[in-house]
Symmetry: C2
Subunit: 454 residues, 2 copies
């Protein structure tokens, strides 16, 4: 009988994360102070993050050890299976071999707990009592709620009000793990009160929710803040995905020609791709790594490389990134996890250096690919994950047309159990194309007065 899933035992869970910073030919430029525009050091992050995470954020060590208690929690769902996509290959009639790493087996249903768990752990070690964060659709909020519960830390989630009202299941999941979830804007913070004073019916935004969560952490000694993507330490924690995948592919006697992942802020893509980029750096391999982003929020394919704020209101340090401008408001596509104006610093530098590729897709093509996947492989993918699927289809079709084999690996970052409404809208033909015009991008970028990069 053919083998569909390549599995690892728990003692094969990697004991170190991979830090790509050590191997990058050009290191990222430093962050700048939002006011002075001067380079800032790690100490500027101390009010928000525990020291160990700040160290990791600026570390140049290639391998960072995973603490035993974190590895022990990882065994709740890791190692995740690597699937050979026999059903999809057959449906596509392609000579390509397709593999996917399935991160939806985590209790929170996505790859996000890979970083939520170590973040909660390091906070606990440093005596932190409470962690705040923001969440949109709720993937990150539920991962952090799950992790905080296990380490007995209070978790406070500022959930964008419109999502809070429209997506009650994710909120209920967070409650079940004991987290406090607020519809943002709230009356609990200065930032929230200010917004509500201007508009008592504000539907909220990720930018507002970030401001509330950060304010809470900055004004309370026992409270820290956590972020689910973009930052270096977050991307590093996700490297466990690719490290496991390499072990699994070695067992299958295979190695990918192409590695694909959806792209929001970068943690999903970095998680699977960076360990393969290491093989390019170290062994001279030529594995292509492709980030798949939404056409409605195309920072990698149509953004500019310059300094910009990480948040909408301009409170964070300025980061050197591919960006559509921090005032850019993406269309309300169903892949909420990909609606972010900028790309993480490391990914941006790698793209600038042409060490990775990027493609953008409309959500109609994404859902079409998602339904094909659900019907050929069984698993209903999260809308975010369907973006990677379109790249997989392109590569598999190219292999068929060229009459050549090709090995494709992609990150199936989560299941779509909480996104079935999106599939319903797709079937009912209620979804529309959301490609952004050049004028819209130019208008957003014209508002920037942040430093350019040469």
């Amino acid at each position: 009988m053919r083998t569909r899933k390549i599995l690892l035992t728990e003692n094969e869970i990697p004991d170190h994360w991979y830090n790509i910073m050590a191997d990058m030919p050009n290191k990222p430029l430093p962050p700048l102070h939002p006011g002075t525009k001067e380079p800032i050091g790690p100490e500027a992050l101390a009010p928000l993050f525990p020291m160990e995470l700040i160290k990791q954020e600026v570390s140049a060590e290639k391998w960072v050890p995973i603490p035993d208690p974190v590895r022990d929690v990882y065994t709740m769902w890791r190692p995740t299976p690597l699937y050979r996509a026999y059903g999809l290959e057959k449906a596509l009639d392609t000579p390509a071999k397709i593999y996917y790493k399935y991160e939806g087996v985590s209790p929170a249903g996505s790859h996000k707990p890979n970083t939520a768990v170590p973040q909660a752990y390091y906070n606990k070690m440093e005596g932190v009592k409470r962690i705040t964060t923001e969440t949109g659709a709720g993937q990150w909020g539920s991962a952090l709620a799950f992790a905080c519960n296990l380490f007995d830390i209070e978790c406070e989630v500022y959930m964008v009000k419109i999502s809070y009202d429209q997506k009650p299941y994710r909120k209920l999941m967070m409650n079940t793990w004991g987290a406090q979830v607020y519809a943002s804007p709230t009356n609990l913070t200065q930032a929230g009160r200010q917004i509500l004073a201007a508009d008592p019916n504000s539907p909220g935004s990720l930018g507002i929710a970030i401001s509330e969560a950060v304010e809470r952490a900055a004004t309370d000694e026992q409270t820290k803040y956590a972020l689910g993507s973009v930052l270096n330490h977050v991307l590093m924690h996700q490297s466990i995905i690719g490290l496991e995948a390499i072990k699994q592919l070695e067992k299958a006697g295979d190695m990918p020609d192409v590695v694909v992942a959806p792209f929001g802020g970068g943690s999903n893509f970095a998680g699977i791709a960076f360990p393969f980029l290491r093989l390019n750096f170290e062994e001279g391999r030529t594995i292509r790594c492709i980030a798949a982003e939404p056409a409605s929020c195309p920072k990698l394919t149509r953004g500019v490389f310059r300094y910009d704020f990480g948040d909408t209101v301009g409170m964070t340090p300025l980061l050197p990134m591919y960006t559509l401008g921090h005032n850019f408001v993406p269309a309300p596509i169903h892949a909420g996890g990909l609606r972010y104006h900028g790309a993480g610093v490391i990914v941006s530098q790698l793209l600038k250096d042409k060490l990775i590729e990027a493609r953008a897709y409309d959500q109609l093509d994404c859902f079409e690919a998602g339904v094909l996947f659900a019907r050929s492989e069984g698993i209903i993918p999260a809308p975010e994950a369907t973006h990677a699927l379109v790249t997989v289809l392109e590569e598999a079709n190219a292999a068929r047309e060229a009459g050549e084999s090709r090995t494709i690996l992609f990150n199936l970052c989560g299941h779509g159990h909480f996104d079935l409404k999106a599939y319903e809208d797709y079937f009912a033909q209620k979804l529309v194309k959301h490609e952004v015009t050049s004028a819209e991008i130019e208008a957003s970028l014209a508002m920037l007065d942040t430093p350019l990069i040469d």
Copy 2:
């Protein structure tokens, strides 16, 4: 590092199902014709089921081979992991060792595909074009939709109208896998039209939905019907759960003192317990097998053992079962999968012969146990599964009080991703006790004119 999950490789998936009929000291009494009340043979089932399943229904063979194409589909999620519940053990401060088999990793999210897949396969082999079924909350309907899609058979699901309206996510899941889902009663069947003529706003019931699905199959040559529990062949297909668990526990060097599962019609309980009962029969072991049913629908603990219909309207053969009477209407608890008036024939005989035990629990205690589990083990359990959890808690506490070790295994039959509304109601203290009174049970039983058993 301690090992949390005991895994098997795909080639360790059992190649035979276990048929407990071969080992039962007292075989079940025969089914009776609903009209004549005379014993009927397997040929009576021919309009509804393919021959191979009818053969399995009456088979006395101890081991029935699993066809390779079925095992190949099983590899989409099987073998399922066996977890050592370290988190729950710690939360309970018990000397007991607790294990659980996690069936929620299937694409449909429960154990139901274990039988949906072979049922779809055998129908396909016999040229069937379409399978009909009924579903309440939707676990079974989504499992059958998943299976039919893989074998390219049309799937028609009659979903109880009130669930269709209140639980859209399960319906959308079925649609995503290509199934046609109707809110029952419909205008498509004689049975449905009759109900609608009397009450155009009928909310439907499982009994009505069964009538519609059966009528469709009985009146169309190319259409068959499928059932998700109760019948012998369904229980046998589920034996894969316990067979895998035995292999896994042997790897861990352990063997349970107690095996526990939730009880609706019997497939969940039979799936994990029957292979352990085989060890009792063959090796003289004394493993206790406990079925956990809802206090609102207590057929095993408070029902009578007599002939009764499998459906509400009295169309099916009469089966010898523990029953509350086919007119019994259980309270609308959230564990929809356990709201069935009777128990499968084999389980009933085993209970009659005192070879298994049964306990009944109120849903408030079940949700309390479910939240404890979610917070200690991470996985949010389906409401059905929380019934088994209460038994686990009782056994673990008994072990602590007795100051002795005890090994407990239970079947975590599914996740609660589509049941979070139920958890919300629990947190909001909207759930009430639903214990049924003796008078209610007596009133339902008094309506029966079906044959008694000595």
